[in-house]
């Protein structure tokens, strides 16, 4: 299945600058489906509650393959909650419960009996705050591969992942140093290297630049741009310029609801919903 999708990728990349789906001019619309071959993740009427409070309400959203999808919205609107549902990290929040469906490559990941451990290798995550392991830089990158039974050479893997995360040159002479000796931006790139070392199919990133200076941010944005050749990226961000710069599609959430999702150019130039327009023009949030 993965193979088939990869062979399709080049064809889609040619059409990168065109809107994936034409928006029919028929007033307010909150979702639109992608052809099933193009979507990697699909949320269907997904509601996520903490106790009785619904943090995400009936969200239906498709994540297209080999694209960067940005999720924007004011603080507390449920972006992280939705993102963490995609690799079942919400399992570790005791009060969280999920209704509706969430498909990864056509399989409902919340069906009873589904094993989230294998899923998390295929859907990697980069957290808002850099969270390297208090171990060596090399170990940070190689550990995930090692526990997942990686058969290849771990040293090569570490080097490749650090190259991809644009960190290799800065750390190649101190791979055995503790990861906490790195700066915040370096730590975040290390966390990205750690995630891509597993060659996931999807990379979920929750405000990966929020703790970083503009230079480190620019490097990570470059990186995201390169990553989408190989991976599908879902990026939560508070930074509208960042969403506009790096994403192909943008989803706007407000108070737990998905207000609008479309090609990034459309969302930022002619959104169909007033709330979207208000938000991107900075009138609230």
């Amino acid at each position: 299945m993965v193979k088939v999708l990869e062979s399709e990728a080049p064809a889609r990349r040619v059409a990168l600058d065109l809107p994936l789906v034409r928006i029919p001019d028929r007033g307010p619309q909150r979702e639109h489906a992608l052809p099933s071959s193009e979507r990697v993740i699909r949320a269907e009427q997904l509601t996520i509650r903490y106790g009785t409070f619904a943090a995400v309400r009936e969200v239906t959203l498709d994540i297209p393959s080999h694209r960067v999808t940005a999720i924007i919205g004011p603080s507390g609107c449920g972006k992280s909650t939705l993102l963490r549902a995609m690799n079942r990290m919400n399992d570790f929040v005791p009060s969280a419960s999920v209704a509706g469906k969430l498909f990864f490559r056509g399989e409902d990941i919340y069906r009873p009996g589904f094993d989230p451990v294998e899923l998390r290798r295929r859907i990697g995550m980069v957290f808002q705050k850099p969270n390297p392991f208090p171990k060596s830089i090399a170990k940070n990158v190689s550990w995930g591969a090692a526990i997942n039974g990686y058969q290849g050479n771990l040293d090569d893997l570490v080097e490749r992942a650090l190259h991809q995360a644009a960190l290799w040159d800065e750390v190649k002479d101190k791979l055995d140093d503790n990861a906490y000796t790195l700066s915040g931006g370096q730590q975040q790139r290390l966390c990205i290297a750690r995630a891509i070392a597993l060659q996931p199919e999807v990379l979920l990133m929750d405000e990966p630049c929020s703790a970083l200076d503009p230079i480190a941010t620019a490097r990570i944005e470059d990186l995201i741009d390169q990553l989408k050749a190989q991976y599908t990226v879902v990026l939560v961000t508070h930074n509208m310029q960042q969403a506009a710069r790096v994403s192909d599609r943008t989803a706007f959430m407000y108070m737990g609801e998905l207000i609008e999702v479309d090609d990034t150019t459309v969302i930022f130039t002619k959104p169909t919903q007033k709330k979207t327009q208000d938000y991107i023009t900075g009138r609230f949030g």
């Binding site: 570790f92 998390r120 290798r121 990697g124 969270n131 997942n148 995630a195």
Partner: protein, 298 residues
């Protein structure tokens, strides 16, 4: 704007001098009280050293105790009994206590039952040691027919320190940031892999500190061992877990009880030996904790 600021600032009465003075008074009070505690301790230790130091010799460590000839009396059997107790207590309490903490913290669902268990473990840590002695008498000595063996004694001390080891381990696990667990899980680690490779190593210094302090408390205990009838003036060293035994605190207690004043000096010398075991242990615990704080990265 500036007008409003001026008006509101005149409503403040900083009284910095007075606040400083009361702060200073509190500091002084705390200092005096802690000095009182220290002075008390110094007097106690000084007295024990003065009474017992001259009685410490190789002979004292290698002779068996005697209730007739103080000049030939030693603590060989008590010292070995204490070493046996330490070993049995550590070997049983550490795996059980750490496993309980890992289970409660990492695996168990957070519901009423686990809350109740937490609450009760905390309460158990406050139960007087003599109660454990009575329990051990009924369970280990009589029911399991372990008799007054060093194994019975060790198991009782194990029960005594289990709550402390569990609580200390749990706190050490709690102190490991959630973000490290999440990082591991997000890489497709199982719970056990996460605990084994990241949570336990990060919590280890805290767990070790707890274990050392708990065991050092256990080897100072006399009451529960007296309850099960650990014998005094033992003229042999335990060679197996089912042998009879005596322990340092018991021997010290027995000598304190003797009428001849020479024996009181022996008791003081025994206390010095006991302190000689406890202080290094506590020093190690303090050192482990300090090095952990220095290395703390998150």
């Amino acid at each position: 704007m500036t007008g409003a600021t001026a008006v509101s600032s005149s409503l403040f009465m900083p009284r910095v001098q007075r606040r400083r003075r009361s702060g200073r008074a509190f500091e002084l009070l705390c200092m005096l009280l802690s000095l009182f505690g220290l002075a008390f301790l110094a007097v106690l230790i000084g007295r024990v050293l003065w009474e017992g130091a001259s009685w410490i010799s190789v002979k004292f460590l290698t002779n068996f105790p005697s209730q007739m000839f103080p000049e030939n009396a030693g603590i060989k059997s008590a010292l070995w009994g204490t070493i046996w107790l330490m070993a049995i207590t550590t070997l049983t309490a550490v795996p059980i206590g750490v496993a309980a903490a890992v289970y409660l913290e990492e695996y168990a669902p957070r519901n009423r039952l686990t809350k109740l268990i937490h609450f009760n473990i905390t309460n158990l840590a406050g139960v007087p040691s003599i109660v454990y002695g009575i329990l051990g008498l009924a369970v280990f000595v009589r029911w399991f027919r372990l008799d007054r063996s060093v194994l019975s004694g060790g198991l009782i001390l194990c029960l005594l320190v289990l709550p402390v080891v569990t609580i200390a381990s749990r706190e050490a696990l709690l102190a490991v940031p959630k973000s490290i667990r999440e990082a591991a899980y997000a890489l497709g680690a199982t719970r056990w892999q996460t605990v084994r490779w990241h949570v336990l190593p990060a919590a280890l210094p805290g767990i070790m500190t707890g274990i050392i302090l708990a065991v050092s408390r256990a080897i100072g205990e006399a009451a529960p061992l007296i309850i099960i009838g650990a014998v005094t003036y033992v003229a042999f060293v335990p060679t197996g877990p089912l042998d009879y035994f005596t322990a340092l605190p018991i021997q010290i207690y027995a000598w304190t009880d003797a009428s001849q004043p020479e024996f009181h000096h022996l008791a003081a010398a025994g206390i010095i030996v006991l302190l000689g075991i406890l202080l290094p242990m506590n020093a190690v615990a303090v050192a482990v904790r300090a090095s952990q704080q220095r290395k703390k990265l998150w």
